[in-house]
């Protein structure tokens, strides 16, 4: 999927007009809150952190506490599942199918 990275290589689910678009399957199925908590340094690129550490791509890692991101993703998955269940129930009702 397409995500967007800013100059500090932080990931964004949507572009504010200043970011670079990158394709990666790392975030397939992930919610916006999960995506926004990550950094992605593409292959061939590098980032120098404020302390001077050089980050070489390709590297992808959370910059927000990963447990919070995982909690958000699990809630997203629950909501997705609930939506699918609701949609399936509507279809079943329309078809007169009882399960």
């Amino acid at each position: 999927m397409k995500i967007y990275i800013c100059k500090d290589f932080k990931c964004h689910a949507s572009d504010d007009g200043t970011m670079s678009a990158v394709e990666t399957d790392f975030f397939d199925g992930k919610c916006a809150e999960y995506i926004n908590g990550y950094c992605y340094i593409p292959e061939g690129q590098s980032w120098i952190a404020p302390d001077g550490t050089v980050y070489l791509g390709e590297m992808i890692f959370p910059w927000k506490d990963w447990q919070d991101l995982d909690d958000a993703q699990r809630e997203y998955d629950r909501q997705q599942l609930a939506a699918y269940d609701a949609a399936l129930s509507e279809i079943e009702a329309a078809l007169g199918v009882s399960v």
Binding site: F26, E43, G44, I60, F61, P62, W66, Q67
Partner: protein, 332 residues
């Protein structure tokens, strides 16, 4: 009998020499005092011959009685009139000291020298560092993070750093002789080094429980290094991962060191219980990709504060070959 005229100062000097050699402070009352002192010159008690580094101050002591000599150019010092029993022998050059006990039964000879082996320690700044062989414990003089620790004897020495917010890390160093110098870095929490899989922490390294998508696996070769070797006409993977989860909370980076010249299709990743090293199934990943020189590389884990599996994996999508060795892996 011939008599010679002797000046009083010469007599005093002679008396002083006799008193020193006879180990007495008493006035030399003629004739008894002289007789006693001179008989002591004949060696009441045992003689201890000590060979020590030239120029050192040599001391023997027992029950509050102390005798001191300075070793000459030949390093030999003789103490006479030692009563039987255990004496403490020590030497110093003003900077170093050494000591040992000797059991005097009869005339006895021994040697003593300075022992100085050094363990150069790098430890987390702000923590307390100790080195111990179980009998002697040495503590770093400060919390600067570096310490040239001089140990006093051979043996197995355990280096440890501890403190608030510091993960207690230990390393063992074997000292076999004086002048030996060893270097220990306990800022790193090793996961693999020199064939040591640090099983207590990692549970060992293998591909058990791991997969890369649904690609067929080739087992890694793990000996003095971790070798991921693949040669396939289609898709395949080779994975080596920890068999236990490792708590990353205290650490900010996972490092690996490899001397392989081509690291395409090779990654370091951390995963949850699913242990699928396909990137989209990992928590974080570092693809080595374009690295072509011997190098150490890291993955940032500073925001991963839980226990995870750590894996090294390589894969092929449409045939080819991979041959990657990892020599070291550690947490920082």
């Amino acid at each position: 009998m011939a008599f010679r005229s002797v000046e009083e100062s010469s007599l005093t000097g002679i008396a002083d020499a006799i008193r020193a050699a006879g180990e007495t402070e008493e006035s030399l009352l003629f004739p008894e005092g002289f007789q006693t002192a001179i008989s002591n010159l004949g060696g009441k008690g045992a003689a201890l011959t000590v060979t020590a580094p030239a120029g050192t101050t040599v001391t023997v002591s027992r029950d509050g009685k102390t005798m001191t000599r300075v070793a000459g150019v030949d390093g030999i010092v003789i103490f006479r009139g030692l009563e039987t029993g255990t004496w403490t022998l020590s030497i110093t050059d003003g900077e170093q000291t050494a000591s040992k006990t000797v059991e005097i039964v009869a005339d006895y000879a021994t040697s003593i020298t300075f022992f100085s082996a050094t363990i150069n320690v790098t430890y987390p700044a702000g923590s307390t560092c100790t080195v111990t062989d179980g009998k002697t414990t040495l503590t770093a003089p400060n919390t600067s993070g570096t310490w040239a620790c001089k140990v006093p004897n051979v043996g197995t020495w355990v280096v440890e750093a501890s403190g608030e917010g510091i993960v207690t890390i230990t390393e063992t160093v074997t000292i076999t002789g004086t002048s030996q110098i060893e270097t220990v870095d306990i800022t790193k929490r090793w996961l693999f080094k020199d064939g040591n899989q640090y099983t207590e922490l990692t549970g060992g390294w293998s591909d058990n429980g791991y997969n890369y998508a649904s690609y067929p696996k080739t087992a890694p070769i793990i000996g003095s290094d971790i070798r991921l070797q693949l040669s396939k006409s289609g898709s395949g993977c080779c994975i080596a991962g920890t068999q236990k989860t490792v708590d990353l909370t205290p650490y900010t980076k996972i490092w690996i060191y490899s001397e392989s010249t081509s690291l395409g299709g090779f990654s370091l990743s951390v995963t949850g219980s699913g242990r699928n090293t396909l990137a989209s199934n990992t928590i974080a990943a570092k693809d080595m990709g374009s690295v072509t020189n011997a190098s150490q590389m890291f993955l940032d884990i500073s925001s991963i504060n839980k226990s995870v599996y750590i894996a090294l994996s390589t894969w092929l999508n449409n045939g080819g070959s991979r041959d990657i060795t990892v020599l070291k892996c550690w947490l920082e």
